[in-house]
C-alpha cells in the first residue's frame, strides 16, 4: 500500500463513519461536530489531490462558515443537552431501503463503467491559474458565474433578513 492509499483510506473511513454518526447521533451538537469532521477530512482529500485552494475554501467557507452557522442556529432553537427524538421504525426501514437501493444502483453502475485512463500528471494548481480563470471571460473562464453567484449571495442575504428579522410590535 502506498502512502496515498493509506491516506485515502483514513480520510475515506472518517468520511463514511462520521457521516453515519452525523445522521444517527441523538445529540444535535454532537451531530454538528461529526459533520465538521466529515467536512475537514473532505478538505483532506482535496489536499491529497493537490487542490490546495479548494481545500482552503472548504475549510473556511464550509467548515468555518456553514458549520458555525448551523451551530448558532442549534443554540438558538434547541436545548443543548436534550436528546433528539428517535424516528419511527417503519420510517427508518423505508428510508434505509431507498438509500441502500440507490447506493447499490449507483455503485454498481459506476463499477460497470470504464472510465478512460489518463496519465497526464499535472502538478499543483497554482493560485495564479485559478485567479486567471476566475476573471477570464473566454472558454474555461469563470467571470460570468462569479457575477451570478454574487447576485445569488446578495439575494439570499436579503431574503434571510426579510424572513428572520423580528416583527416590530
Amino acid at each position: 500500500m502506498t502512502n496515498n492509499q493509506i491516506m485515502f483510506f483514513i480520510f475515506s473511513a472518517v468520511i463514511v463513519i462520521f457521516s453515519i454518526l452525523t445522521v444517527t447521533s441523538r445529540r444535535i451538537l454532537r451531530a454538528a461536530t461529526f459533520l465538521l469532521f466529515v467536512l475537514v477530512s473532505t478538505a483532506g482529500l482535496y489536499f491529497m489531490l493537490r487542490f490546495n485552494f479548494l481545500a482552503a475554501i472548504q475549510l473556511t467557507l464550509y467548515a468555518g462558515g456553514i458549520v458555525v452557522l448551523i451551530i448558532f442556529s442549534i443554540l438558538l432553537t434547541s436545548q443543548v443537552g436534550a436528546k433528539l427524538e428517535l424516528p419511527g421504525l417503519s420510517k427508518k426501514i423505508y428510508a434505509l431501503i431507498a438509500a441502500a437501493a440507490g447506493a447499490a444502483l449507483c455503485i454498481w453502475t459506476i463499477l460497470q463503467y470504464n472510465f478512460p485512463r489518463t496519465s497526464i500528471e499535472s502538478g499543483r494548481t497554482s493560485i495564479d491559474d485559478i485567479g486567471k480563470a476566475l476573471t477570464s471571460t473566454g472558454k474555461y473562464g469563470y467571470a460570468l458565474p462569479f457575477e451570478v453567484i454574487s447576485i445569488l449571495l446578495l439575494a439570499a442575504m436579503i431574503g434571510s433578513i426579510v424572513i428572520a428579522k423580528k416583527r416590530k410590535d
Partner: protein, 105 residues
C-alpha cells in the same frame, strides 16, 4: 489512477456519503439535522467533481470550479434555510419536520 488510488474508490466513498445524507434527510426529525444531511449530500457531489477533474480531466479546472460554486451556493442555501428555520421556530417553538403538516391531501 492517482498515485495508487483508483478513481472508483473516490466515487464509492462519495456515493456512500451521498446516500447516507439521503438517509439522514429521510429520517431526521429536526430541521437542522436535516440541513446537515443536505450538507453531506452536497459535499459528496463535490468529491465526485474534484476526483473526476484530477484523475480524468486535469487539462482544465472545470470540476474544481464547479465545486467552488457549489460550496458558495450551499452557503447561500444554508443561510436561507436557517432563516426560515428560525422563523418557524418563532411560530411553533419547535422545529420538528413532522409537525409541519398543516397542508395536506
Amino acid at each position: 489512477m492517482f498515485e495508487g488510488v483508483p478513481l472508483n474508490w473516490f466515487l464509492i466513498t462519495a456515493t456512500l456519503m451521498f446516500f447516507i445524507g439521503i438517509y439522514g434527510f429521510l429520517v431526521r426529525k429536526n430541521l437542522i439535522t436535516m440541513l446537515m444531511s443536505l450538507e453531506l449530500i452536497l459535499n459528496s457531489v463535490n468529491i465526485n467533481f474534484v476526483a473526476f477533474n484530477k484523475l480524468l480531466y486535469p487539462q482544465h479546472l472545470e470540476g474544481m470550479f464547479f465545486t467552488v460554486f457549489i460550496i458558495a451556493v450551499a452557503a447561500a442555501e444554508a443561510s436561507v434555510a436557517i432563516a426560515i428555520i428560525i422563523n418557524i421556530y418563532r411560530r411553533l417553538v419547535n422545529i420538528d419536520v413532522e409537525n409541519m403538516n398543516e397542508m395536506k391531501n
